[in-house]
């Protein structure tokens, strides 16, 4: 007998769990099932509610679209409400009355400068520069700290791009919700035609329980807690604040956030530590705003002002830097790897190498050349790419697979385009002899067997 009360169930999630597929893939399915807000009329009140929620979202997004893009502010945190535009709404028609914002804590001089900056924004808008439609107080203060017109232009463009990407995202969401609504209506129509039939499948009657986000989070946190007590540590060193521009600092923060997410969702996470952090630094401030619950018990990310030298034995530490001479041939489960929290787009210097040299630590670079033929760009990877590679190495110890998965495709020549022993080094596949058993040992063996078999066939042919 089926239970009279239908569950909302994610069938595939449970199948996947059964087959031991990595769990993170299932989450999307679970989330999709919940978001789709399918429900049967007249069934449980809960499902009706979520349906209503879906409709509300849909309506609001339509409303947002019908109004002008000026409606949006680039800053969306509720703590920081957008200020009214300094000028009247349509400067096209009546710019006659320029009204200026005022901040109370500014001196007379600063106030005048602030007014000029507002004037500048208006003129930039009139001459077609990419500027945001609204600027929050926090952003104005950043603008005021910029001394040259060029840097302000760059900052305004940055805000404008943010605003546009927000708008595009909303547009996409609105379209998706329209589709979803149509699908939902269709199903409802089918049901109303034949209300008596019992339906099976996703979001109808099934035998599998629905896994919620909170449940997944609990699972993740249990794993993180396990890693915290018994797992292998990995360290982000955020000691490079003075060497980075503001943009690079924010990039560092978002990359650390992404690394944290990767680590959390891994089946076998690291004990992630952030060392040398000073909360007054821009990087940490940006990280704090990227991970708002950082420092609370609900967030299992650990950061400390101490250096890693004070926490871990020096002999176990290995600094990963692409300037190093030694190569990390094998992933060692007893070592503690340090990733320099450094994004250097404009002016790369071997800073992390210098630091490791000064502290007398072991250094290593990833064996990129052993496994890949590099195509474009520097061999420095982003922090989340590093984290992904290290997580994969911890799981299966196959460098090639880890690199191919996490390094962007454009950066290396595709392995299938390379030929072993080609005279031109550009087309030659990296030599397999360099690979120790930390790498993928299967392939050369296979290859040799293949050769041996070929030779055997030849010999039998010749002997006849």
């Amino acid at each position: 007998m089926l239970s009279p009360k239908p569950f909302k169930i994610c069938h595939q999630t449970c199948l996947a769990l059964w087959r031991k597929v990595p769990i993170q893939r299932c989450v999307h399915v679970a989330a999709a099932a919940r978001n789709s807000a399918f429900s049967l009329p007249g069934h449980s009140s809960q499902s009706r509610q979520s349906n209503e929620g879906g409709r509300v979202i849909f309506r609001r997004s339509l409303l947002v679209w019908s109004s002008s893009p000026r409606f949006f502010s680039s800053e969306h945190s509720s703590a920081d409400p957008p200020l009214p535009s300094p000028t009247s709404a349509s400067s096209e028609q009546s710019g006659e009355s320029m009204t200026f914002l005022k901040f109370d804590d500014l001196s007379e001089e600063e106030q005048k400068r602030f007014q000029m900056l507002q004037f500048e924004l208006e003129i930039l808008r009139q001459s077609g520069h990419p500027v945001p439609s609204k600027i929050t107080e926090k952003e104005w203060r950043k603008v005021m700290a910029l001394s040259s017109r060029f840097s302000r232009l760059k900052f305004f463009r940055f805000l404008f791009m943010n605003e546009m990407s927000d708008i595009n995202l909303k547009k996409k969401k609105a379209q998706a919700s329209i589709l979803r609504q149509a699908h939902c209506d269709q199903i409802k129509a089918e049901i109303s035609e034949n209300p008596e039939i019992m339906r099976y499948g996703l979001s109808f009657n099934t035998m599998f329980p629905y896994i919620r986000d909170t449940d997944m989070l609990k699972t993740y946190n249990i794993r993180l807690a396990y890693a915290r007590t018994l797992g292998q540590p990995i360290i982000f060193d955020v000691d490079y604040d003075n060497w980075m521009s503001q943009r690079e600092q924010t990039n560092t923060a978002t990359q650390i956030r992404d690394s944290y997410a990767l680590n959390k969702e891994s089946r076998d996470p690291f004990w992630l530590q952030i060392c040398n952090c000073r909360m007054e630094n821009e990087t940490m401030k940006a990280l704090k705003s990227a991970l708002p619950n950082m420092g609370e018990p609900s967030c299992l990310i650990e950061y400390t002002t101490k250096s890693y030298l004070d926490i871990f034995p020096r002999s176990q530490l290995v600094y990963l830097t692409y300037n190093a001479e030694a190569t990390l041939d094998r992933f060692n489960h007893d070592d503690i790897y340090i990733i320099g929290g450094l994004v250097d787009k404009t002016n790369p210097k071997p800073l992390s190498m210098a630091k490791a040299k000064r502290e007398g630590l072991r250094m290593a670079k990833l064996p990129l050349d052993t496994y890949l033929r590099w195509a474009v760009g520097g061999k420095n990877l982003t922090l989340n790419q590093m984290m992904g590679i290290m997580l994969d190495m911890k799981q299966h110890g196959d460098w090639e697979q880890a690199f191919l998965k996490h390094i962007p495709k454009r950066k290396y020549l595709q392995p299938e385009d390379l030929i072993p022993n080609h005279p031109n080094p550009y087309h030659r596949r990296p030599s397999a002899t360099m690979r120790v058993d930390g790498g993928r040992i299967g392939r050369p063996q296979e290859y040799q067997n293949h050769k041996r078999r070929q030779r055997g066939v030849l010999e039998t042919l010749l002997s006849k």
Partner: protein, 580 residues
């Protein structure tokens, strides 16, 4: 094919073969604007060769065809420079050429404006709709389309549309470039309109600079000074803005104000001199006062290390020939500083002992010890190197071994051929100069063939730095330690180290540059395995200089120059001897 390098803009726009009357095709801008550094940083050796080869061609051009008119190209260049600052300009350019039927200035009737506006309203997003009038006016201003600009203004008045600040200020700038007599009242009317919108004199930099660009020609030019003060609230006045005001001051006979502004320009922008227009006004003023004032002007340019542009050099030549009865010639100098026209030698660059000592001290402090030692090397290696230099100094020449070995050797990277090339160059240097040489190499060079390396070590002192170390600071250190008599051979331009010095002291940076120019040698070509040719260090100083009977003035010929490169073109002025 002609290349125009825009100095101030972010991109170098390369224009291929153009004639002035053609409308600018939009594809030029999108296709050929190169990102400035990446393409030529990749192969420094190629760059060096092209530098030296270019220099030789330039000398030919300067000597044989000094009077080639390049002003259309120059106007073209300035238009491009302005355009590259206008956002989305290719789109506005299409609209403007549509309205103006190609590249001709014309009075566009109101109904055509109306259709253009309607079309833009249909197609464009919110941002571009707001910017429609401002962008078109600024484009009209760049192309000097006065009638088109005036028609836009008339259209706005007739359709009762509000004229915003962007339109009005660009119109002021456009009128500043107008040749007809009624420009003044037009400028003042538009200026009054801007003042009405912003009664409290609150302008941003762009608006203020546009206003200055028109106002400097009118009777109210002194308000430009106030506008300059306003600019300083939010940034620093650009050389162009200052040049406008300087021109205004000279034209209205206020030399003291102009000189004050010139001083300000020098402190704000260093060796980036005033624009041609300001120089022209300056010379026109000096000319009217006579020879002593002209000499004063030349002294001024010498002290601030500015170079006069070609147009002014031409005026100067004509004036000295006609009014003063001197001999005047465009010329170049030999590497030792000999004038090709009158065989006189230019003054050598002098670095005083004090200057040099200060440079040396500061270099050790800020580059070797001051920054993170671990960035270039490690303390043990540094100690080893300093002991080595102390023991073996002084040298006469410090050679960047890797640079020499890899020079022109892009394909063949085996140790033997690299070592051979280094050996050839070293032998050549010893043969030509007969000197004590230090060759700086890397540890991995020890693996090069024994025979070549042992011969090399018998000829010169060798030091091998670790593979991970940076060698430029090492080279500079040894060269500076050995004293003023020591040269160094390297293809590196040492910018990084210059900037490190510059953080503290502008004077010091100048000394460093001076020292580098007079002591750096560069490889020009290696001939097989027997000899090499080198670019010798510069011997003379590139500033205006005079003796009893002659004046030599370096000028900018309009040919492209690299960063920190000095113009090779000179104007030679000599007094005619009485008996000739």
């Amino acid at each position: 094919m002609r290349h125009i390098f825009l100095r101030s803009s972010q991109h170098r726009v390369i224009l291929e073969s153009f004639s002035f009357r053609d409308p600018l095709p939009a594809s030029i801008f999108s296709a050929t604007s190169l990102s400035s550094s990446s393409s030529w940083r990749s192969n420094p050796q190629q760059r060096d060769i092209s530098n030296i080869a270019r220099e030789r061609t330039h000398n030919l051009i300067i000597r044989h065809a000094p009077d080639v008119k390049i002003s259309p190209a120059k106007l073209r260049g300035s238009i491009l420079e302005e355009l590259s600052a206008t956002p989305n300009f290719s789109k506005w350019h299409t609209i403007l050429t549509g309205l103006c039927r190609g590249a001709e200035d014309r009075y566009v009737p109101a109904d055509e404006w109306e259709t253009a506006v309607q079309e833009s309203r249909k197609k464009d997003n919110h941002k571009d709709r707001q910017a429609f009038f401002g962008s078109l006016m600024s484009l009209a201003c760049s192309f000097r389309f006065h009638q088109c600009g005036a028609s836009l203004l008339d259209f706005l008045h007739s359709s009762k549309t509000f004229v915003n600040v962007s339109v009005a200020s660009n119109y002021v700038k456009l009128c500043g470039r107008l040749e007809t007599p009624d420009f003044e009242e037009k400028i003042l009317a538009a200026y009054a309109h801007v003042k009405r919108i912003s009664p409290a004199d609150i302008y941003d930099m762009g608006t203020a600079e546009n206003l200055i660009a028109g106002l400097y020609r009118t009777s109210r030019w002194e308000e430009c000074l106030k506008l300059l003060d306003i600019i300083e609230f939010t940034g620093r006045p650009s050389p162009t803005a200052l040049s406008y005001v300087i021109t205004g001051a000279f034209a209205h006979d206020h030399p003291s104000t102009a000189l004050r502004l010139l001083k300000q320009l020098s402190t704000l922008h260093g060796t980036f001199g005033p624009a041609e227009m300001a120089f022209t006004a300056w010379f026109a003023y000096a000319k009217s006062k006579g020879l002593p004032t002209v000499m004063e002007m030349l002294t001024f340019t010498r002290d601030y290390e500015w170079f006069i542009p070609l147009e002014v050099a031409r005026d100067l030549k004509a004036w000295f020939e006609k009014e003063q009865g001197w001999m005047a010639k465009f010329t170049t100098l030999s590497p030792r500083g000999e004038c090709a026209a009158c065989s006189e030698y230019m003054k050598p660059i002098t670095i005083t002992r004090d200057e040099f000592e200060k440079l040396r001290e500061n270099f050790v402090k800020s580059v070797i010890e001051g920054t993170d030692v671990f960035l270039h090397t490690n303390p043990a290696e540094l100690k080893r190197y300093r002991d080595f230099v102390e023991k073996n100094a002084p040298f006469d020449l410090v050679v960047d071994g890797l640079n020499v070995a890899y020079f022109q050797n892009s394909s063949n990277h085996d140790g033997r051929s690299l070592a051979r090339q280094l050996l050839t160059v070293t032998e050549h240097l010893l043969h030509v100069r007969g000197k004590r040489i230090l060759i700086l190499g890397r540890m991995h060079m020890k693996r090069w063939p024994k025979s070549e390396m042992s011969r090399l070590s018998s000829l010169a002192s060798l030091f091998f730095a670790e593979n991970m170390s940076q060698d430029d600071p090492f080279i500079l250190y040894a060269a500076l330690y050995s004293g003023l008599g020591c040269n160094f051979l390297s293809g590196d331009l040492m910018r990084d180290h210059r900037f490190k010095l510059a953080v503290k002291d502008v004077e010091l940076r100048k000394t460093f540059l001076k020292w580098q120019r007079t002591h750096q040698m560069q490889l020009f070509k290696v001939y097989g395995d027997h000899s090499a040719s080198l670019k010798a260090p510069m011997k003379y100083s590139t500033v205006t200089q005079w003796t009893e009977s002659s004046i030599h003035v370096p000028y900018l010929s309009g040919l492209p120059l690299g960063l920190h490169e000095l113009p090779p073109s000179w104007l030679c002025l000599t007094k005619k001897l009485p008996n000739n």
